[in-house]
Symmetry: C2
Subunit: 337 residues, 2 copies
DNA sequence: CTGAAAGCGCTTACAG
DNA sequence: CTGAAAGCGCTTACAG
C-alpha cells in the first residue's frame, strides 16, 4: 500500500493540468464543450495523480448517485442469500450497492436503527434503499423497499407467503397423525411472525383441532429465545408430539433441547422450522422446514427498487413470493402410545 | 412509508428552534457550551422534524467518521462468512460498517475495481477499509487491510496458511496411495493460488513423486473455469486417480464432470477442494477440503483495521491463520488396477 | 470553450 | 453561550 498522504482532489488535478476545477469536472463526467487538447491535458493529469472522484462530495452536490443502499443490522446466513439476489438484480444495471450495518451483531441493537441508518444514507448518498426486517414503519425522502416488513407497514415490500407456508407445515403434521402440536412464535411486531402464527391457528381450526394456548410459546426469532420455551413445552407430562418453530434458528435450538432431555427426534417428537437456512440441512436429524428463497426476496426487492428509483414501477407495491415445504428427517408419525 | 419530500436538514432544525446551525451542530454532537434551555429547544425541534444528520455532509467536513469500509466485487458464500467475522469484531466498537459492491456479480468485473471503490470511499466516507481478494496492489490515504492479497502485495493483510493446507491435501492423497494427482490451479495473480500450487508441487517433490505438468490445469477460481480442465484431465486414458482443485467451487464442478463421464467418486477418482464452503458438505459425495475459516479471516482483518485506524497497531502487518484438512466422502484409496 | 461563483449539509475556528 | 463565516470536494448555472 502506498501510504498516499492526503487523497488526491479535483483541485490537485486542476492545478497540474492548468485549468479550473469546473473543467476537470466536465472531463470527468464526459460533458460536452471541452476542447480536445484540454481533455487530453486533464486526462493525463488524472492518470498521473491516480485521481478518483470522491463519492461523498459528488453525492452531496448531485441529486442522483446511481448507488442503491441496503440497511441491515446484522449479517446472518439469510442476509448473504438476500445480498446475492440483490446483486444479481443489479448486475449491469449501472447501480452500485452500499450495505450499511451497525456495529451490533444481534440482540442488543437499539430500536429504530433502520430509520436512523436510512435517513443518514438517503439524504444524498443513495438513490433508494432496501431495508431488511425493520422493527417498525420506515419513512424516507427516497424510494424504499422493505424485505419482511413490520406488521401493518404500508411501505412497498417483498415478503414470503408466510401464511401458506405455515399452513402447509401444520397440514403436513396433521397428515402424519399429530394432534398436539406446539408452536414457538416469532417477534410479533413482524408481519411474518403474525402470518406464521395465523397459519398455525387456522390450519388447526380447519382440521377441527382446538388451539391449546398453553402449547404456544412467545419467542422473538432470536434462536436463544426458544430455549426456555422449548424446555417448558417438552418438560411437561402431556408434552406435544410435534413442535413447529417460526424460524429455523429457533427450531434448531428446540432440537438441542430435545436431545438434552433424551427425547428422540423424530421418534418421540417431530420438529419443524421456517426459512430453510443452510444449517438446517446439516442438522441431525435434518430439519423439515419451509423454504422462502431469501435469494428471490432480495432479487425482487432490488428489481422493484430500481424501477421505483427510475419512476417506472407499474406493479403492486406489495409482492408476495411463494414458499415451499421441505420435508426432511425431523418429522414422522407420532409414536402410538 | 411517509414520502417525506425533501430530507430534513440542519437548517430546518435551526429555523424551527430559532438558533444557528452552528448551535444545532453543537447539540447534535454533544459539545460543551450550550445552555440547557437551548439544548432543550433544539432537541425538541430535532424530535419534531425527525432530523438525522447526513452521513455524507458530516463525513465531508470531518476527518473521522467512525465508519469502516469493506470493498468486494460480489457476494458469495464466503463473503457472508467474512462479513459475519467482521461484524463480530466491530461489535460495540463504535464503528459502523459500509460494504461497497459494484454491480457485477462475477466474471466480467473490470480490473481495478478495488482501487476505484477504495479511493471513492476512503476520500472521506470511511476511516479505513478492508479489501476482499483484489486483483492487484492497493493504495489508499487511509489504512487498508487486504484479505487474500494479490501476489507480492505489500499491504497489511490477513490470509490463510494456504501452503500448509495444500501440503496437507497432497499428503492425505499420497497416504491413501495416490501417485497420479491432478491439480486445477486458481487465478495466479492471487497469492493464495500461488501458495496452493506451491504446496501441491512441494509435497509431491517431498515424496519423490515427479510433477507431471500435463496433470496441471490453469483455472481462475471461477467454478466454470474448471469444467473444460476437469474434462481434459478425466478424458485421457491415463487419467489421474485423484484431482485436487484449488477451490471448492472448482472441485464441485469436477465432481459434476466425473459424474457426466460415469466415473465413480471416490471409487475411481478422489476429489479434493479448498475453502470449505457450505455447499461442500452437502455435495454427493461430500467433499474433502481445506477449511480456512473465512469468519476468522474477517474477524482478524477487522481487528487489525480498528487498531490501524486508532494508530495503535503493534502486531505484524501480515497475519497468517491456520488451515484444517476436512476429510469427507470424496477421497479414498485408488482402485487397484 | 472556459472560469468565477454559488451552494450541497455539515463542522469548526474565530469573534463577540 | 451563540452566531457569522470559511471550507470539506464536488457540480452547475451564469458570464464571457
Amino acid at each position: 500500500m502506498a501510504e498516499g498522504g492526503a487523497p488526491v482532489t479535483m483541485n490537485d488535478v486542476a492545478r497540474l493540468a492548468g485549468v479550473s476545477t469546473a473543467t476537470v469536472s466536465r472531463v470527468v463526467n464526459g460533458r460536452y464543450g471541452v476542447s480536445a487538447s484540454t481533455i487530453a491535458q486533464v486526462r493525463s493529469a488524472i492518470e498521473r495523480l491516480g485521481y478518483e472522484s470522491s463519492l461523498v462530495a459528488t453525492s452531496l452536490r448531485r441529486s442522483r448517485t446511481n448507488v442503491l443502499g441496503l440497511v441491515t443490522h446484522s449479517f446472518q446466513s439469510y442476509t448473504a442469500e438476500v445480498l446475492k439476489g440483490v446483486m444479481e438484480a443489479l448486475r449491469q444495471s449501472g447501480f452500485d450497492l452500499i450495505v450499511y450495518a451497525n456495529g451490533d451483531l444481534y440482540g442488543t441493537y437499539s430500536e429504530g436503527w433502520e430509520q436512523r441508518h436510512l435517513t443518514r444514507l438517503s439524504g444524498t448518498l443513495t438513490d433508494g434503499c432496501i431495508v431488511l426486517t425493520p422493527w417498525g414503519e420506515v419513512r424516507s425522502s427516497t424510494p424504499v423497499v422493505v424485505i419482511d416488513p413490520a406488521k401493518d407497514s404500508a411501505a412497498p415490500s417483498v415478503t414470503a407467503d408466510n401464511l401458506a407456508g405455515a399452513t402447509a407445515v401444520v397440514e403436513h403434521l396433521l397428515g402424519l397423525g399429530h394432534r398436539r402440536i406446539g408452536f414457538i412464535a416469532g417477534r410479533s411486531s413482524l408481519a411474518a411472525a403474525w402470518a406464521r402464527e395465523e397459519g398455525y391457528r387456522s390450519a388447526l381450526a380447519e382440521a377441527g383441532v382446538r388451539v391449546d394456548p398453553t402449547l404456544i410459546g412467545r419467542g422473538d426469532f432470536n434462536p436463544e429465545s426458544a430455549v426456555p420455551l422449548a424446555r417448558a413445552l417438552l418438560d411437561r407430562a402431556d408434552r406435544p408430539t410435534a413442535v413447529f418453530a417460526a424460524s429455523d434458528g429457533m427450531a434448531l435450538k428446540t432440537l438441542e433441547v430435545a436431545k438434552d432431555l433424551g427425547i428422540d427426534v423424530p421418534g418421540d417428537l417431530s420438529v419443524v422450522g421456517f426459512d430453510n437456512i443452510p444449517e438446517s440441512a446439516l442438522a441431525e436429524p435434518a430439519l423439515t422446514t419451509v423454504d422462502q428463497s431469501m435469494y428471490r426476496l432480495g432479487y425482487e426487492a432490488a428489481r422493484m427498487l430500481k424501477s421505483l428509483v427510475s419512476g417506472e414501477w407499474e406493479g403492486p407495491s406489495h409482492i408476495v413470493l411463494p414458499t415451499r415445504l421441505v420435508i426432511r428427517g425431523s418429522t414422522a408419525s407420532p409414536a402410538r402410545p
